[in-house]
Amino acid sequence: MAVVDTTSPPIMTTADGTPLKVSLQRTNRRKKIQAFLLVSPLLLFIAVSFLLPIADMIFRAVENPQVVTIMPRTSEVLEDWDRQALPDEEAFAALVADLAEGRETREIGKVATRLNYEASGLRSLIMKSARRAERLEPPYKEALIDVDEDWAELDVWKLIQRESDPFTASYFLAAVDMRYNADGEIVDQPDYQQIYVKLFMRTLWISMVIMGATLLLGFPVAYLLATLPARISNLLMILVLLPFWTSLLVRTTSWIVMLQTQGVLNDLMVWLGLISDDSRLQMIYNQTGTIVAMTHILLPFMILPLYSVMKGISPSYVRAARSLGANQLTAFVKVYLPLTVPGIGAGCILVFILAIGYYITPALVGGQSGQLISNSIAYHMQESLNWGLAASIGAILLFAVLALYLIYNKIVGVDNMKFG
């Protein structure tokens, strides 16, 4: 019977006696850490200067600090209120104390504005009561109802109780044209206030039209550029790259110059006799303006990915199809077109992502009917100052873009993104 050697083969070691495997692992770990250290400054920078702000915006869409911090007594008392009948004297006393203090610290306006988003008219109710709060005498219940009989309304108290929650979904509801009713149920906004769903739909529709238009115009051009001899196609490529590199504002300005009623195109058509001088076409400050200008601005983003895909398709495929008896159309539809699908997909998603977030061009040439969803974000940030609503519309838009981006990443991959 042969003796079986049960000991394992000798472990290979490095010069200082550590097993080779351990040593390799250690080196690999060190390399990983080194690579990560190189990336970490930028990662930290982007996290602080970009990712945190975005997270902060999403947080703002749900935070609801006004009532709970500025009217702490009222919110606490209302916590146990049963919502069946008007709250008792204790709640009224707390409210008067909060109103008086809020007026002193000049913070009460924030509560008034916040509550007014939920039910218009509350702003004046709060401000009026706050002005008088200091001079009110007990019993506060009668005194407050005497100031304004709205304080005898159950709904007002229900609202204050609901808004005492430090977090709210009401901005998100407002962004999809819904709201809480007095009983805290989610209902549709009244018809005349339904704007955002329509605006989202319009944004999607306009983006789709622009995507279609850029594909229609871009596909033949990309095909031409990919099949012409390099000398000519490089020259023609300049015509695509120059607009790509030109400032967005410059291109928008030039579309204003081209399209306005006293502009170049209208003048040209009058001169050609196509239209009369007093029936000049309104081509700008409406949806047409937005679509034309944005199609022009986004066209290079369609042509470039299509071109790079088409450049990689060997002409021998089509030649082979033709030699096997396919006519030009069949060869194109059955052989060439399927090969360009990755390019079509990449270009379409890229244009679509860029289009749904566009702000500058619609703001300048869109008029009323050409405004997109991002314009309403800007409006709520700069003019109505309803930052919560701006943040929640922004968050919805952001999630839409990220979803599209994930698809884009599946098709193309960030690593393969190229410019010019």
Binding site: A35, V250, M258, Q260
Partner: protein, 283 residues
Amino acid sequence: MALPSYATPLERTWYYGFRVFCGLVFIFLITPILVIIPLSFNAEPYFTFTEAMLGFDPDGYSLRWYEDFFTSDQWLFSIKNSFIVAIASTFLATALGTVAALGLSRPEMPFRSTIMGLLISPMIVPLIISAAGMYFFYARMNLTQTFTGVVLAHTALGTPFVIITVTATMVGFDRNLIRAAQSLGADFTTTFFKVIMPLIAPGVISGALFAFITSFDEVVVVIFLAGAEQRTIPIQMWSGIREEISPTILAVATMLVIISVLLLVSLELIRRRNERLRGIAAT
């Protein structure tokens, strides 16, 4: 794809029709950019060709809008600001982005695609959302209406371009060169500046140009973050177009087109040089 001599009439029509269509698309692409150049020399405050201009009458043309630009304190102030912000943020974005790209292109980089996705995100997220987020957050840090705030924001927006161009250059990079340098006694800094940098310079320079133009043309974020002291050229143009559009804007636009042409030409030269070098390396 020249037309063969045996082409049928239908094929001929299709062939020429296709080219005419492409020609029209090229006209659509380039006309808006070309049309503003002559109009910026208009002697009259109109946005269309006057009869004098069409008749090539020298009186129809003038440099008054350029004069307007160079004598306006507001425009000169904003062009100065634009350059300050763009140069500072290009410098930061290029430095941070290049170092990060070196790490990202190492094969042993952990969580590569996730981190890449995060670092690229400023380019993907719509500008209005970036602007809103930065406005809220920078306001908490008291960074709105400061140069620091604008430069930080533009750096964040510019780095994705640097990362993409530099990692693309690193694809063809021979890592043995680093090992060779290190085995000959070079430390990391020497290896970086003497070996890596000269080889990836084209990527770094084109990344820097992208970062520069991103900042120089950026309008959405500055509208929200900048105060009167940080007024840049795009803000000045934006308010000019919204309030009282004067042909001075066309003069500015023409100059900006010239800047983009210069950028395009330098990028093309870098690309050609790169290709030539690679061509030599391959043979």
